[in-house]
């Protein structure tokens, strides 16, 4: 009897822990957002973070974008040629990249490359009591450490997604036009007639902004909230990658059904 009660108590403990953590994350993000104005005034800090969050992620984004586009071109051609619709290859590559693959895959790579680094860095700062030291000197670590990193993630993510998509389209063109021999003019003209700037390109950018917000939020919160031991930091880093990837994929479904649901 008491063991059943114990299980129920554990369930309650787990739920309360989750709710408390969600609440902490919400309070945390409001404080960080309030601190971003101060961070904008000291833009040099943000610039440093854009370098480590954005520029250092550039290589993996560029290379993956190119290869994703090339694979899309190849696979799309094999499928489309069954229906005699090779002329739509450019449209297929461009639509799938601008609407879905660009923002989503870029956000997944961003979570793996930049998000994990953010969590580990902030977690280590906490473990070595640098954050506590700042508070002792009346420097708010949320404004000095977290807000510039958050802002950098928010700025970098849409740019990275745009670069990923552009590289993908180029990769599709290399394979479709260069290797397979789809006509260059038809490739681009079908693309331009089918891709709408507002419906497709802009919605993709909105998606990448949302993903940038969520991934960076999860990354800095996990770092700030981690258990300040080496094991705690490693767990927080893992949690960042897992939770951020799940959040991106789940949110993508919600955003897609909101943006492209009707019609």
């Amino acid at each position: 009897m008491s063991s059943v009660l114990n299980y129920i108590r554990q369930l309650g403990h787990w739920v309360l822990g989750r709710v408390e953590r969600t609440g902490r994350a919400s309070v945390f993000i409001t404080e960080v957002l309030a601190g971003t104005f101060t961070a904008l005034a000291r833009f040099n800090l943000v610039r440093h973070q854009i370098f480590s969050v954005g520029v250092l992620t550039l290589l993996i984004i560029t290379v993956s974008g190119l290869f994703v586009g090339m694979v899309l071109g190849l696979q799309g051609y094999y499928t489309l040629s069954d229906f005699g619709a090779e002329s739509s290859l450019g449209l297929l590559v461009a639509l799938s990249l601008t609407r879905e693959l660009g923002p989503v895959v870029a956000a997944l790579l961003f979570a793996g490359r930049a998000g994990s680094a953010l969590t580990a860095e902030i977690g280590l700062m906490k473990a070595t009591e640098q954050l506590a030291g700042m508070e002792m000197m009346a420097v708010n670590p949320l404004t000095r450490v977290i807000a510039p990193r958050f802002l950098a993630g928010l700025i970098s993510m849409p740019l990275l997604a745009a670069i990923f998509t552009a590289m993908g389209v180029w990769g599709g063109q290399i394979v479709g036009v260069g290797l397979i021999g789809v006509d260059d003019g038809i490739f681009w003209s079908r693309m331009q007639s089918g891709v709408d700037f507002y419906d497709d390109v802009l919605n993709g950018v909105i998606k990448s902004v949302v993903f940038g917000f969520v991934v960076t939020w999860i990354a800095v919160f996990e770092g700030y909230d981690c258990v300040p031991t080496s094991e705690g930091v490693s767990r927080a880093t893992t949690r960042t990658v897992v939770n951020a990837s799940l959040a991106v994929l789940g949110l993508d479904f919600v955003l897609t059904s909101l943006m492209f649901g009707e019609i």
Binding site: L58, T98, L159, A166, V169, Q192, V195, D196, F197, V205
Partner: protein, 157 residues
Amino acid sequence: MGSNKAMELAVGVFVLAGIIALVFLAMKVGNLSTASVNEAYHVQARFDNIGQLKTRAPVTIGGVRVGRVSDIKIDENFYALVTMKIDSSYHKIPSDSGATILTAGLLGEQYISLEPGGADESLKEGDELLVTQSALVLEKLISQFLYSKAEETPASK
């Protein structure tokens, strides 16, 4: 100081690359460069049946795109009322032109083709095209064909 400058340069290149990628997506991949930023006027036409015509479908004269379908409604007599947005650089289309809904290829998208008439007056904002021809609906064609076949068979016996 030197490495700081290099870092700033790298950030600048990164932001610039992102913006260039966005412009590339807007201009070369999307239709922002071909979307009419210049003036346009609206013309209406009533059809019995518009088939699969959708908003944003092209409006052409002799295959050249002159505008887009901007709105599709149904009027009080249950005719389909299609509003077309025509680029004002094509402002000399005769007012007695006809509109036909055609299909690009056998199963492709449907679009509106305008056949220029002979009137001296040209179309203005809010005008209505009176000569229209509805879309061909494949199912109707097939059933008509089958019915006519069925009528033929007993006579040949």
